[in-house]
Symmetry: C2
Subunit: 676 residues, 2 copies
């Protein structure tokens, strides 16, 4: 059993797969089907060029409500010398008469006519040559201007000329395309068949969405994400029920799927662990082409071809053309799984559908934080992107392959190509954008201390068509980021041990020479987050220190530079407790929820944090201190942030915040400092 | 009856409609429905914020296949001083022992453990302390490096912490969002209900798609385009069968639709002509708010509110809140109809769905041709957009409201705001792009003389992921455009009367100082396009002239600066025929197909053009001259155009061209001129 995978470079892996598909004559549009021309054709891909069968309009049509005339009959008409035209009552012109005939917009022009005079430019006359209201059926009309031939006429073929190319093959149909196809005389349309993709989730630890969970259970939602991706790419996905880790069972299901699908995705089990059967399954039913690709996240990918159905061919001696069903062993981590489909499946579906590959807009952005990357891998890094002043910034999100929220929050994907060991903060990188630039220009970048109010703020700002992307780096980190021009505002609650005042001295220290406005967001309680029922009977910081000497209380701290840590240090100092007495003082978390999670999971007995975080995870809370959480805003962004200022005086927002435990909204919106 | 509409400005019209919807309490999400979390949720809009019900992972999970350990047990392990850890066979640790336990990726960490050592970093030992292959069940393991706490562990809540905001309300669901929602403990999701939109096509002249057409019939495809737009915007459309122009019948159908729909689109009849019933219908069933909007194309728009169902309320005395169904009278021209839906319906559907409005990316482009616009109107001009060198260019397409192909070909929409009478060529305009910038950067802009081969070229280039956008301005116009840097290449067939040579002297004259490569595309026959059977017995240019003196042959010419006109003038000169002898010499068409169409429709008896155009419209052709059609390419675009050069040596392309009548492909690709 091979414990190590032999990763090959991404482009080689793709080329190998493509070659196998070519050998199996599968590197082309799968097949063509004719469908009716209706709304369901939307998004389908034309399989053949569409040539016009008829012209549009298919006759000379009046472009206005008015009177059809012969332009030559109108020559000489002037305001002072009007011309009278007799209204024609049959379809044949009267010899040697000046004539006109009423036409509605869209009516065919009579054979004898070559121009139209709009109704508002004529005087309708009755049989006594008096002006009448009988617009459509006067006896004659009077005109006071001549017209040129073909005016107010839509000539035959103005829009479409029979035989011209209406749309090329490989075109994804949009609403107006359907109109043009109809106008050119078609009532059905040949499109590429939707590729059928089977998604087989395997793993004894998997349970369906919505299951009541016990430790070790993993919710099987990859098949939902993958199926939705396939649907979005124009394919048709089948989600199979969860298959236990059983080699024979997996083989059976793969063969079953191969009979009715064009591509099989075997999700998880693609690595080389004890229960990773995917490679062995592909080996048994066909041929493994690639096992391991030098790409992150997602390197344990399997690319292979398997036979169709349950025939009894010998896979050792059978040529690849006998294995007509491509199969991909997709890694189990959700980020890896989703990116694997983007990287390997999208080009195949594009080819099978005959469309060009989906391509994201690429923009150059400035990296806000150093990225370290394995030199041998193509490394796809999810980034949040925002525009601060003139600079487009890319802030790396969680690198964890298990962190699906990093994909949810991502505004784009940066590729750190193999051969690069990393990229420094401040350097330029190319980012493929998931959003349009105008969306990104509406993104408010917040940085600094974490507060639950920011989640509520994100919700309320979304209603105002603004997106809040917040990065948690602690209060000091936020001020430093503002100085570097990396965010629009920072949340901060730094207590100055000298003055007992919040934030101002730190702002002057960390962002000198930057004019700011500082506005209070909330007053809030900080205290000790402890397990439900407070089993260790902790009541104060003092308790904590004493007991921790006996190693009986495990503390979890916030990271250096965070306001909460400043607060802890301030009060430990006041109580003369050396931090060596606190077990876990050096164990850092980056958010209040992180601290609460550490306590809830048993990793720690207590930590300093806010009441709301304790409430969120159903923990107990021992209130200790009051503090103020401010928004620090460089003055240049005040106008950009006006939707945010609106929120601070919005009673709906205030009420929503006050429903969180331990928050005081009475200070909200108070201006703490405003530079000239 | 009011013949003139009173157009009001667009923003006033929108504000009036919004106010009426607010009065009727319809300016909000229509209603909320709970749907299962599956692929059908894709594209739906969250109606409420989604807060995490559980954490993910919901336990401390091993991030690797390997051995769970206590980090403190590993302290001191070094290459030279390995540490042995006993494999634990029960779930309880052995007091005072250094222990380890096998875990697969995703397995819960045992309560006593706080780190994982990957399998590849351990030596598995059997009961005799010999290295073994029994990876999962050795007796002990040997390690040669210490590990830090929580390494290779995915702590509880690494991805999602219970209670955190997963997604805000008003979010359009993407594949990864569905994964994150599942991961946070949901199995259903509250989304906004899809608004139901009724589309009622009215008009006695309308016939269904696919009908055999007679003069005056109009294919009813607007409802297809509108329904597809509604679908794309997230609504549900019902297409009603065509309704004749009958006031009572239209009223009846509107009332019927009002019972089961949220919005009614009454297509056509929105103007003020004799058979335009829409305004009267809305008046009878409710209230007309706006009739006529100062916007082009599309000004005869009706905005109104009607009652629901067939109750018997008196509309005169009834407050607006009693008219709960918005109705829009949509103009009949296809471009007007489609843009009316974009302008008036999209903001309403966005509000009803609770999502933000679709917004197109705006870019600044240089206008290639002067646009004249009525000063009082907001004028939406369809443009082709391409990048030539560093310049983003916008070339106005047909302005006709009936020309749906102008929307098909459009890469973007430029707004000429009211108050502006026009914009000059070379000025900058803002263009809302229908395509991504990377698509636009792949667009090849061709300009100059029209040839049917260009349609085939477009099809073949599409297969190479290039888009060909061609503008027909005649050969000379194309050379002038190249000089101005407005296209990548020009098609030209200008015969020099002095030298009898094609193109070169004109290139030097019209684009001096520009280095070019000139490549032959095709040799082709020019001749007279005449009606089927040649009823007037035309055999030569001479015939034409003689007869035209008797006014019995009507000619149609090509525009000045076109190669075909040069050819005509050259031979008329040789034959000593003054062009005054040719009836219709001054009647211009801009393309070969335009000439053929004029002949087919009876507007002219003959015109000079290419055989393929005659063949296309089933006309007869009298061959007269041979000419060469060249591609003129500024040298700076040679690399960009490499897919085009590939085509010229592609036998599939050559064969396709040679199947058109009158083409000689033997010259294809011959270099006529290449500047150093």
């Amino acid at each position: 059993m091979s414990v190590y995978l032999h990763d090959i470079p991404l482009n080689q892996a793709q080329a190998k797969f493509q070659e196998a598909l070519q050998d199996a004559d599968l590197w082309r549009v799968l097949s063509v089907e004719e469908i009716p021309l209706d709304e369901n054709a939307l998004g389908r891909v034309t399989a053949e060029p569409i040539w016009a069968q008829i012209s549009s309009p298919h006759y000379h049509a009046s472009a206005m409500d008015g009177f059809a005339v012969r332009a030559e009959d109108t020559v000489g008409a002037q305001p002072s010398t009007p011309i009278h035209l007799r209204i024609l009552n049959s379809q044949f012109p009267i010899p040697n008469s000046l004539i006109a005939q009423y036409v509605d917009t869209g009516d065919p022009l009579p054979d004898w006519a070559n121009a139209v005079i709009p109704i508002e430019n004529v005087e309708s006359l009755d049989e006594n040559n008096q002006i009448t209201n009988a617009i459509r059926k006067p006896s004659s009309i009077r005109i006071r201007a001549s017209v040129t031939p073909w005016i107010h006429v839509r000539p035959l073929g103005e829009d479409i000329v029979a035989t011209q190319l209406v749309l090329p093959a490989g075109h994804i149909l949009r609403p107006v395309d359907l109109g043009a196809i109809a106008a050119s005389g078609h009532q059905s349309i040949k499109v590429s068949r939707k590729p059928k993709v089977a998604i087989l989730p395997t793993g004894s630890e998997l349970v369906p969405i919505g299951s009541k969970l016990k430790s070790g259970d993993i919710l099987e939602y990859n098949s939902l994400v993958l199926a939705s991706q396939i649907k979005q790419m124009g394919g048709e996905a089948t989600r199979y029920p969860i298959i236990k880790d059983d080699f024979d069972l997996i083989c059976e299901k793969v063969l079953e799927a191969s009979q009715t699908h064009d591509l099989i995705l075997l999700n998880a089990g693609s690595s080389a662990g004890a229960e990773d059967f995917s490679a062995k399954v592909v080996e048994k039913l066909g041929q493994v082409l690639v096992h391991g690709v030098a790409v992150r996240p997602g390197h344990p990918v399997i690319l292979g071809m398997v036979k169709k159905g349950i025939g009894n061919r010998n896979s050792e001696t059978t040529p690849i053309s006998q294995f007509p069903i491509p199969i991909i062993g997709v890694p189990g981590y959700p980020v890896s799984a989703s990116l694997t489909v983007d990287i390997f499946v999208e080009p195949i579906l594009a080819k099978w559908l005959g469309r060009k590959q989906n391509e994201l807009q690429t923009e150059e952005a400035i990296l806000t934080r150093k990225i370290v990357s394995p030199a041998g891998d193509d490394d796809f890094v999810r980034v949040a992107v925002g525009k601060v002043g003139d600079k487009l910034l890319a802030a790396p999100l969680s690198r964890g392959a298990g962190v699906i929220t990093s994909l949810v929050q991502a505004d784009g994907l940066a590729l750190i190509p193999s051969g690069t060991q990393g990229i420094d903060a401040g350097e330029k990188i190319q980012v493929k954008l998931y959003r349009t630039k105008s969306e990104i220009e509406k993104t408010i970048l917040a940085i600094g201390s974490h507060d639950l109010t920011l989640d509520l703020m994100a919700q309320f700002l979304a209603e105002k068509n603004r997106r809040l992307a917040s990065a948690n780096v602690g209060s000091q980190g936020g001020l430093v980021a503002l100085r570097r021009g990396e965010a629009h505002f920072a949340g901060s609650h730094l207590l100055d041990p000298q003055t007992g005042e919040f934030n101002i001295s730190y702002i002057r220290q960390y962002m000198p020479n930057i004019k700011v406005k500082v506005v209070a967001l909330v007053g809030r309680e900080q205290g000790l987050i402890v397990k439900k029922g407070n089993p260790k009977g902790i009541k104060s910081l003092g308790d904590l220190a004493t007991r921790s000497q006996e190693r009986s209380v495990q503390f979890v701290n916030r990271q250096r530079g965070s306001g909460t840590r400043t607060l802890l240090d301030y009060y430990l100092n006041q109580l003369n407790i050396p931090h060596e007495y606190i077990a876990g003082y050096h164990q850092d978390e980056y958010t209040h929820l992180g601290v609460a999670t550490a306590v809830a999971s048993g990793r720690a007995d207590c930590g300093l944090g806010i009441a709301a975080a304790a409430q969120a995870l159903d923990l107990d809370f021992i209130p200790l201190f009051q503090e103020r959480y401010d928004l620090v805003i460089p003055k240049q962004f005040i106008e950009f942030l006006s939707p945010l200022f609106d929120l601070l005086v919005d009673s709906r927002f205030q009420e929503a915040v006050s429903q969180l435990k331990g928050y005081d909204v009475s200070v909200m919106g108070t201006i703490i400092l405003e530079d000239e």
